[in-house]
Structure formats: C-alpha cells, structure tokens
C-alpha cells in the first residue's frame, strides 16, 4: 500500500511538473488583468452593485480559467502519452495502471489547486483594493465603511471558492475518465465540455423524467433517464450565486456538495482505472 502511494505520488509529481512547464501560468496574468479592469469598469454604480459585479466577474473568471486548465491539462494526460509512446516506458516499470490513472489525476488537481490558490489571492487583493478605493470615495462615515468592509471581507466568499474548486475537480475527474477511453485530445475536450454543459441542465432533465410519467415518448424518457443517471448535477453548485447575492448559505449544504463531489471523483477514477486496465496500448 505504501509502495503504491509512493508510485502514485511520483506520477503526480511528474504530471504537475510537466504541466507547469507548459506556460499555463501565463493565463494567471490575464486573469489578474481582467479582474483589475473589471474592478474599475463598473465605477458609476453603487458600492453594493460594484461588489456584486466584481464578485461575479471574479468567480466566472476563476471558473473559466480553471475549466480551461482542467480540460486542456487532462487532454494532454493519457492520449498525448499514448501518442508519444512515453506511456510504454512508464508502464513497463513496476507501476499498476490504476496507479498511473490516479497519479495523473492528482498531478492535474495539484496544478489546478496551485492556480486556484494564486487566483484566489489575486481576487482577495483586488477586493481589498476596491474596498480602499470605495472608502476613499464614499468618505469615512462609520456605517458606510462597515457596509463596504462587510462586502469585501465576507467570509462566505471562501465557501463559494470551495464550491468552485470542488466543481472543477469533478470536471477534471470527467476529463481523466474520458482520456482513458479516447485516442485523441479533441475527443476528451469535446466530451468533457459537453458533459459540463449538460450537467447544468441535469436537474431539469431529472425533474422532467421523474414527473413525465407515461406522457412522454419512450425514447425521450430514455434520453432523460440517461442524462439523469450518467451526468453530474452541476446546478448543485449554484449556491455560489446565493453567496454573491449576499444571502445566507448554511455550511451544511456546502459540505454536502463537497462530499458529493468527492464521491463523484472517486467513482469516476475507479471507472477510469477499470477502463484503462482493459485498454490495448
């Protein structure tokens, strides 16, 4: 077991270092610039609106950047290794295939975690910068300062951040799953993106399927059932919208979504490992 862990870590470390060398960190600069630009773009609105716009922009940019890193990173993982034949060198060592899959996933998730950490720090800095700017503009009245600080230092923002990270980790799990099936990087990117988009409609499909009864045609029911059963419900992560709106979101609900994400990733990796076991290389 310990040996297994060591081998997984070695693959993860290798994957992480390989990904870092691919200049992905350049996108972080773009992220920071977008956020800085966005922070000043909405200056003619009230401070509540400015923070709302800024938070939406920040989370959307983090989500989009994370999604791109996850998709492109995962697409490079296994199909590219097969294409370059480097996978044969790796697997002829005492390395089990499932260890290879889990190591690859952990490497990718580590890269994503580092990027999320940096983006989170930039986001936090921009919020504090905006806070100072607004306090300077609105004057030093205690009530206004308190209201501005409540917006920029809202601890619930970390809740939203955890939800974004969990969602992206599930997307990475999906990408790793498809990469064990695929022979091309385009297939992995297209399939993961499709499931990501359908995942936001999964709850609609599920409700339609469960409520349609006998009224819908069998093929429609079959399609809706397939979406409900096979696709993750990405609408569960829309708690982020509630947090940005300044509404209360209980930690219990957040933790449950995090647990769901963890379980989903576990299942995806187990299925990916089985698929990879039977694959001819």
């Amino acid at each position: 077991m310990r040996e297994s862990g060591r081998r997984i870590l070695a693959v993860a470390e290798n994957t992480f270092l390989e990904a870092v060398r691919q200049k992905v960190f350049a996108v972080l600069l773009i992220f920071a610039l977008v956020l800085m630009g966005g922070a000043n773009y909405f200056a003619e609105f009230s401070f509540q609106e400015q923070f709302k716009f800024l938070k939406d922009l920040g989370y959307a940019t983090i989500s989009l950047t994370g999604l791109l890193v996850g998709l492109l990173g995962a697409a490079q993982l296994i199909p590219a290794e097969i294409e370059r034949r480097t996978i044969l060198t790796a697997l002829c060592r005492p390395l089990r295939r499932w260890e290879f899959v889990v190591g690859k996933y952990l490497g990718l998730v580590s890269l994503l975690a580092v990027m999320l950490g940096i983006m989170g720090a930039v986001f936090w800095a921009v919020l504090r910068w905006k806070e100072a700017q607004l306090i300077g503009m609105e004057g030093g009245e205690a009530g206004v300062v308190q209201a501005i600080q409540a917006e920029s230092r809202d601890p619930r923002l970390w809740q939203a951040f955890a939800l974004i990270a969990a969602k992206l980790f599930v997307v990475c799990g999906l990408a790793v799953f498809f990469s064990t099936l695929a022979t091309s990087t385009t297939f992995v990117v297209a399939m993961t993106l499709m499931v990501y988009l359908i995942g936001h409609l999964q709850s609609v499909a599920r409700e339609q399927w469960l409520d349609s009864g006998e009224t819908a045609a069998w093929f429609i029911q079959l399609f809706l059932a397939a979406v409900a059963l096979l696709v993750p419900d990405f609408n569960l992560y829309s708690l982020i919208d509630e947090i940005v709106a300044g509404n209360m979101v209980p930690w219990r609900a957040t933790l449950e979504v995090l647990a769901y994400s963890g379980a989903y990733v576990g299942v995806l990796l187990a299925a990916a490992a089985w698929l990879f076991e039977g694959r001819d290389l």
């Binding site: 989370y59 419900d233 919208d241 509630e242 709106a245 509404n247 209360m248 989903y264 089985w274 039977g278």
Partner: protein
Amino acid sequence: MSRAVSLALAGGLILGWGALKLPWEIRMTKDQRLATVGFSGPTAVAVREKLGQGLVLGALGGFRGLAANALMLQAHGAWEEKQWVRVRSALEVATLLQPRVALFWDLASWHMAWNAAVAAERYDGEESETRRRIEARKWVEAGRELLERGTRAVPEKALLFQRLGDLYWQRLADYQAAAACYREALTKGDAPPYLERFVGYALDRAGDKSAALDYFRELRRSMGENPDLARKPEVVDREIRKLESEIQGSFGGRTR
C-alpha cells in the same frame, strides 16, 4: 483483464452510482431550495422559455451572474438614452436570471416607478395631462409589481419591503399600505433603525393619528429606561408630543 470485462465493470459502476446518486441529488436540490427561505423562483425551464439559446447556456453554465450583470449594464445604457421599454425588458430578464439578488429588484423597480414614471409625466409629446398621468401610473404599477415579486423571491430581507413601503408612500400616496410594508420590513431583523419610526409617520400621513400615537407610545415603551441612542428616543418623544397636541386640538375644535 479483457476490454469487454473492463467496459462492463466501468459501465456497471457508473450506472450503479447513477442510481445511488439520484435520490441524493433530489434531496440536496430540495434542501437547497428550502435553505434559501421561501424561494420558489423561476425554474431553469422558465428561464429557457424566456431567453435565447446562447444566453441560456450562459445562464445555466455557471455564468448566470455575468449574464445578469450584462443585462443590468444594458438597462443602464438604455436608461441613459431614456429607452424605457428596453430598460424594463432587460431588468425583467435580469431578475428572472437571478431572482435572489435583492439589488436587482430594487434597481429595477426604481427605474420603473420613479425614472420611467416621471419621464412619462413630463413627456412633452403628449398634450393631454390625463393621458400622461395614466401612462405614468402604468410605470408605477410595473415598479410595484416588480417589488411584490421581489419580496416573494427574497422574503428574508428587509430591503424590498422597505422599498415597497417607499413606493406606496411616495408614488401611490397609500400610507396605510406603506405602514404595513414597513411593519413587515421590521420583522426581518436587518432593517435600518430609523425604519421603526416610519410606521408611525405613515400612519400619521394616512390620517390615523390615534393609531400613530399608539404606535409611537408603544415604540417608546419598547426602548426602555436607557434607550439605545441610535433609535433616536428624542425624536419619538417629539412625535408623541406633536400627535397628542394635534389630537387634543382636533377634539377641542369639534367641541367648540
């Protein structure tokens, strides 16, 4: 392991997990809707019916906030150009996309009941004052309707009840309704301290001076011996004295 076996195992696992996760997802969705107090906002299907496909993907793809903000910016531009119908449609969709954002309802109703209504009142292309007033009233009603829906979408916050009270007071001169809205706002826990006096002011404006006096007396009693100065006890005392003298005056006038 053969390819067929590995495919069967992976497929079985995914399907089995699908069956397991389904009740979990249903319960979490239900819990999340309950946790957002009284939320019965539009479902994704309603959004889909209302919007174009591209925007739906934005709305449902985790970027709903950005889409709603873009609509608010569009409404802001239309407001600057005094394109009131465009302001209204953009804001309607923004509130539909993010019904739990109180700010959107507030801003949307302000544009309708104040800006658009005042513009209609002053519109120099219509000579008839009656027609101008009817048109203005329609905009005020649109603002009121938005706030009514907003209070149902965000029932746990004082802001929209307060704004609805303001609208009844300032745009419809319905002071009793305003007092009822302010009372409701005060039950929410995040109402500003000055709002508690507004119930009394509204009752006074409605002509129900004895109800206003009773309210202010009760309010003063609730402040206790050592009142919080932020609640302005001296203003409440002044209102009590004013109302007492007005009521006495009116009785005196009648008996004379």
